[in-house]
Symmetry: C2
Subunit: 262 residues, 2 copies
DNA sequence: CTCGCCCACTCGTCTAGGCACCTAAAGGAG
DNA sequence: CTCCTTTAGGTGCCTAGACGAGTGGGCGAG
């Protein structure tokens, strides 16, 4: 094992109240923040740090687990611990559902990704009728059963988002909306063709840590939260015609809204 | 030590690929989700679980640390590990900066909190001139120095958000905006009085894990992300007159936006 | 009865190892 | 030269135990 060049990391302060594993985590964090370890670069191995600080391996592992929890690093089995590269973020503008965008035909996700030079994909498509959850039922105005459209979005092979749209059966059943591919402009274009002119959307945004299912579906590294967005679409008669429940990898998105100051 | 009533938790599957500490975490998580352990309730102690599963204490602690990372439980030294109660969330409506709200006089935060029956506070107020960061400078249109207004918001004693407003010096210097208390309606009211009629706001939303500083400032439990909101205010001449950088405890907020479908 | 101390229980930190498994590189077989 | 096997280095997972430190209840002294 090559000796760890000691310029990068300092020594511990034995008089400090701060736990040793926290001190080590602090030093590593600072070194990362200062760019001493760059994105994608490998941190010193556990053994090197054991040597450098004169502590036991569990203590070093503990430090790593803190940094993992903060989303700063990720461990690869058999390779090492690496500074997590910050993936390019996708900006979601608040006008992304504007009518003019629908007129182009392709879905918003595809158009936007192509424009950014990324390779977009949609998978795990599922369209079926099911019982509405309490929450969805409330939002749609006491609907018992709904059409659910589930799909997952990937960017350059990486899953970044999965979403489920819920629509009242009396609107969606037997229309192109109930088809896996609803046609150009997506379901919003179909809704308007069916006479449900869209008036506005409500979006609710939360952020939280992912459930184990979400970790799997989005291949989330530890320390990456999710953004949970619930959009309700209303037609010009004030009726809620769709609820879309979206979970996004928080490190892949910036949401952007423009608000009038009236 | 009283025996752990074994109805609550199952046994381990030694044939499973899943690591033991993950299996234990899974069982605890499921028990919590099913309401077998309720909000605020104490989980079995480490020693009880060691006994129940026949594993070492580190393994049990590892399981707990997973659940902590997910924000499901929190440990209290000397007392036990508890199911984390979900605090009431504050809804931030997208019209919260509408002019009509400013006319009431009090700041948006105070008015809203009072209405919800909570006890609001603002602290660690700091107003000073400083060099603009690269990012702020860009957003404000190549401004070198700015007036920075820092403050922290608390709800019923709990810190939930801290924010910094940056304003160009040529607008803010020598005005009530540079005072600790800018007067009724806040700085937006003052900006309008000074002839900077507000046209619209841009809001950028990110979610991520907090830095150690943010953990301290917001007293964040582990497993709670932050919502990072950057708002830029534009006047009717298209000039950016304020950038507000806000970090919120994600478990205390739901952001709500209404978008036209035009 | 009250106060203060002590002890049992709890989690927090750390040590010192062992086994399993993955990865990459070196080296041997074909 | 290519392909496979071996092996060393690395991480993941786990054990067994020690000491520290916060909490709360019980018990004895006053």
């Amino acid at each position: 094992m090559p000796p760890l060049s000691s310029g990068l990391l300092g020594a511990l302060d034995p008089t400090s109240d701060r736990a040793v594993f926290r001190q080590i985590a602090d030093q590593l964090r600072e070194a990362i923040d200062r760019g001493r370890f760059k994105e994608g670069e490998k941190l010193p191995s556990e053994a090197e740090l054991v040597e450098h600080y004169g502590v036991s391996r569990m203590t070093v592992r503990n430090s790593f687990s803190i940094l993992q929890g903060e989303g700063l690093v990720h461990a690869e089995h058999g390779k090492g611990v690496f500074v997590r590269p910050r993936p390019p973020v996708r900006r979601l503008a608040s006008d992304r559902f504007a009518r003019r965008h629908r007129e182009q035909g392709k879905s918003a996700f595809i158009v936007e990704a192509d424009a950014a030079g990324s390779h977009p994909q949609v998978d795990s498509l599922e369209v079926k009728e099911e019982k509405a959850s309490q929450d969805v039922s409330t939002r749609l105005g006491s609907v018992r059963r709904v059409l659910a459209r589930r799909r997952r979005y990937l960017l350059d092979g990486r899953p970044v988002e999965f979403a489920t749209s819920y629509l009242p059966l009396d609107i969606a059943r037997g229309t192109p909306i109930a088809e896996p591919n609803p046609g150009p402009g997506g379901i919003y274009a179909r809704l308007e063709e069916l006479g449900h002119h869209l008036d506005h959307f409500d979006e609710e945004i939360r952020a939280r840590m992912p459930s184990p299912t979400e970790v799997k579906t989005l291949h989330l590294a530890s320390g990456v939260p999710v953004i949970h967005l619930i959009r309700t679409a209303y037609d010009t008669e004030g009726r809620a015609v769709e609820v879309c429940d979206t979970v996004m990898a928080a490190d892949a998105y910036v949401l952007s809204y423009q608000l009038p100051a009236t």
